[in-house]
Point group: C2
Chain length 148, copies 2
DNA sequence: AAAGCAATTGAAATTCATTATCAATATCAC
DNA sequence: GTGATATTGATAATGAATTTCAATTGCTTT
């Protein structure tokens, strides 16, 4: 299953590169591979650290560049928690979701509320907008942190 | 009316400074005054530009510092549209609201949907969180930009 | 297989917003 | 006024992200 998903995502990237006349390099494969291996929201710097362990010679600019390509290819998505660092999460095979973060311990939960999604679209239309996408960040105190 | 509101906001700032044992300086008064004069979402750099016209000697670091104080005092609020620059809006006398932005022309509308607000709280509680605050950014195409 | 050429790379320099440093200056309780 | 100390502006420094560029690589054409 994981194998299957990974194969598909790598295929998508290969097709994306071919379509754009970009080259299939070992660095790009390696960075995608490590990105797919982790399910957390990861920053370019963090991904650079883990990629470096497999290829000491890789440059951080390359990680930034590939992450941008992955977004274009529909494999990654930017997440901005407002701490000054952009993070990335899997896009392919992962439904849209929003984030609920504990301001005390930093724990983040992925959430979706279909009713909210519907109301968002209606709200935009009320102002004549055609809603393309949205970001919703909920901040609060988690159950554990409330018990202190 | 504007006079009345401004007076109140300036009082609040004065009280805040007194409470925190901070000093009431001409720079702080000037920056607050120019901030209150504008209703748009303004960046530190933009505010610095308008403040400079009244006091050529003011430093930009001071603008950054005062903006931070205004947030603490409950007079300003940070808004992050994800373009890499933090912006600020009036907090006092301005109800909470979210933002609907046109990705084509940049126009931003302030919106609130009480039903969404209620559902957000319920959603957080479903995961054991006590919701403290949230940010919701809706992105789409406005009526004018759709007609092209 | 060799050549040719554009795409790619890593290192280093650069940008941009924001923050820290620090000596000079201003505020305010006394 | 005096003095302790908060504040300021100039400047340096930071951290994330991007750009530059010469060297290298991948891929197409012979
Ligand atoms: Mn997520
Ligand atoms: Mn607003
Ligand atoms: Zn927590
Ligand atoms: Zn528009």
């Amino acid at each position: 299953m994981t194998e299957q998903t990974q194969k598909t995502e790598k295929q998508i990237f290969a097709e994306f590169l071919a379509r754009k006349n970009l080259r299939d390099t070992s660095q790009r494969e390696l960075i995608l591979d490590e990105f797919l291996r982790r399910e957390q929201h990861i920053s370019a710097e963090e991904l650079y650290d883990v990629v470096k362990q497999r290829d000491r010679t890789i440059g951080q600019a390359t990680v930034y560049r590939v992450l941008k390509l992955l977004c274009e290819a529909g494999l990654a998505r930017e997440v901005n928690f407002g701490d000054g660092t952009m993070r990335y999460e899997h896009e392919f095979g992962h439904e849209h979701h929003d984030h609920l973060t504990c301001t005390a311990c930093g724990k983040t939960i992925e959430v979706v509320d279909p009713a909210i999604e519907t109301l968002q679209k209606a709200l935009a239309e009320k102002y004549g907008f055609c809603l393309l996408n949205h970001e919703m960040y909920l901040y609060g105190t988690c159950a554990e942190c409330q018990g202190r």
